[in-house]
Subunit: 199 residues, 2 copies
């Protein structure tokens, strides 16, 4: 039985390391690279290296940034009295897209998960506390509504509330456009608990 050329196998292995990519898809990606022109492939290789070497963590919010302090943290127009705590940078970008929130962020780099051996010390909790210097009036905890996200929210709340800073949690309920028939029980229960009066 003949094999693929070693170079193709190696490239396909690299694609698999990205995670969530199976053997066949990785091989398909490797063949797509063969279909690109050489300049494009060199650009791709360069983009990989640039992303890894030129992107760092913002020293304030710990989100990714190509500058020491990210554009959000250095934006004088943002409301410095509110910090929205998220699990990762992509969650912060999701909140940004809403164009509603004008405060700052703090990226935890994960959630507390005893199962995976992740305690608060593995997250940027200490860095978050050091930002609560009196300017900050509210911390909005926007971790995912998963068991780990909820645990992390509770943990942070117990840590921060005693400091006299308001701690809030994003609401649970039916997603807009969702179908009650397909909603899970916990979501529906939270949606009923969180009901509000119509005018």
């Amino acid at each position: 039985m003949a094999d693929y050329p070693e170079q193709i196998e190696r490239l396909s292995d690299m694609f698999r390391r990205l995670g969530g990519i199976g053997k066949k898809t990785a091989m398909r990606h490797a063949f797509s690279v063969l279909d690109m022109n050489e300049e494009e492939v060199r650009d791709f290789a360069q983009a990989l290296i640039a992303a890894k070497t030129e992107v760092c963590f913002c020293k304030v919010c710990k989100g990714i940034s190509s500058t020491e302090v990210c554009p959000i943290c250095s934006d004088e127009g943002r409301d410095r009295s509110t910090i929205c705590v998220v699990e990762d940078y992509r969650a912060a970008m999701a909140v940004e897209k809403v164009r509603e929130y004008r405060g700052l962020y703090h990226v935890l780099h994960g959630v507390i998960s005893p199962m995976k051996g992740i305690g608060p010390d593995k997250l940027t909790v200490k860095e978050l506390l050091s930002r609560l210097d009196g300017t900050v009036k509210e911390v909005i905890i926007a971790t995912d509504p998963t068991p780990e996200g909820e645990t992390t929210a509770m943990y942070l709340s117990r840590l921060i509330s005693p400091l006299g800073v308001k701690v809030s949690r994003i609401a649970n309920g039916m997603p807009v456009g969702g179908d009650l028939e397909y909603a899970d029980e916990i979501t529906l229960r939270r949606a009923i608990e969180g009901r509000y009066n119509l005018e």
Copy 2:
């Protein structure tokens, strides 16, 4: 609204060019690269360039190869009287996996598709004909059982049969382990047409 660092956007764009990758998946891949260590990322970049620059087409079968003539075509142990015609190299590798076929291959690099403006001149048909020098006794056409694959099979059959070379087509029927309830009508019709006697 803040954006992702430009390096991340650029890398995510490169992933999208692989095809079949949406915006969110591409971004997830870009973040996976950030999670790799720098050596791994450099290996990835190197693997991209090596695959593109060191892999060429075998001058006999037109399959991909890292040598001028691929390992299959240069294997003296293979049956040189049979050529299996496939759409692409991956199809040849799929046939190889069966470990049943011991002949040679010919990679067409596509199928005839008037809709996409692909005529026989864009495929390696001429190169296939030049291989029919008397040694070859049978050409097995293993293009996909799609309308384009069937058209290509018919076209090749009409071209090759008059040369006194046997032309065959891989069988259609129910995939092993498949469910009749979910089989499409054409497959089922072909399965009935191609029925064989049990002992």
